[in-house]
């Protein structure tokens, strides 16, 4: 394992595809491919109408590479607090290639091994979005009334 920069190319086509898929959903207010300061990311902002007022921004950021690597992070601000977690597929010394960095800060030391579906589109569909749905439900339970 190298500690220098990973040399990999962004999979623009797959990120574009995912951007269109997210753009079709009512729960998504905006998708932005490679916005300023995020040259590798598809940023997906969820519609704030769907979660309690205390929660500011909820967003996903997706990175995909032509070597099969990906990083999908969830970001949430709540009463000024920032939280994030991340689903990863890439080689590194601390975990299996597929792994998850849990809330609250996607810390490397807290990462847990996982095994995801082959296609990133399936990982989003079967792992990431069900998690997000559940998270939004639990935000209502803690802040919703």
């Amino acid at each position: 394992m190298t500690e220098s920069a990973p040399s990999r190319s962004v999979d623009e086509a797959t990120l574009r595809y995912l951007g269109r898929a997210f753009g079709r959903r009512d729960e998504v207010s905006q998708t932005s491919l490679f916005p300023a300061n995020k040259p590798e990311r598809l940023a997906v902002t969820l519609d704030a109408e769907y979660y309690p007022e205390l929660v500011g921004v909820v967003s996903l950021e997706l990175r995909a590479y032509t070597n099969g690597d990906f990083h999908v992070s969830y970001h949430e601000t709540r009463a000024g607090d920032r939280r994030q977690c991340r689903w990863d597929r890439h080689d590194q010394p601390h975990n299996t290639r597929d792994h998850f960095h849990p809330l609250p800060d996607a810390d490397t030391t807290a990462a847990v091994d996982r095994s995801y579906a082959t296609d990133l589109t399936r990982v989003i569909e079967g792992t990431v979005l069900p998690w997000v749905d559940e998270r939004v439900g639990s935000l209502w339970e803690s802040d919703g009334r």
Partner: protein, 177 residues
Amino acid sequence: MPADGPGEEFGLAEGFSADLDAEPADERVYRVALQLYDPAGVSEIAERASCAPDTARRHLKRLADIGVVERVSESPLTFARNESYFEWRLRNRLEALSRDELHERLTELTERESAFRERFDAESPTDVDALHHAEYDDIETVWLALSEWHTVRERIDRLEAVRRGRGSDLSAEENAA
């Protein structure tokens, strides 16, 4: 409908999944083709695209004709994503930009690249030892930044290539005139 109460209406997974399932078979095979980073056989691709192997084979042949995928082996028949096709598409997209737009993008990327140089005090991302810039719990953040730097450099190279190509077209036109 936006919710006024507990988020039962928030069903991103279900809606996203229903949209993907509702796509016609050729689109589903294309979606898998995009993600064939490693070669795969027809039956595996069919399974990933939720379609019959014959359907997958037919669409894969068409995608191979266009150049989206390439045949990696004949027996067994396997396909992989054809990287040169996607590179060609990226360049094509840039060809459509005006001279000013091209210049603007290059300026923006060059500025970003100098910011990375400054942040890591290095000439290129491969010169950086991430451990020198991070506590262990933060190392992935540094890797991600270095990966972005690498991407910025790739984009600069691609833009430069397009600009050079255009420059020689222009001088050829001028000579003709």
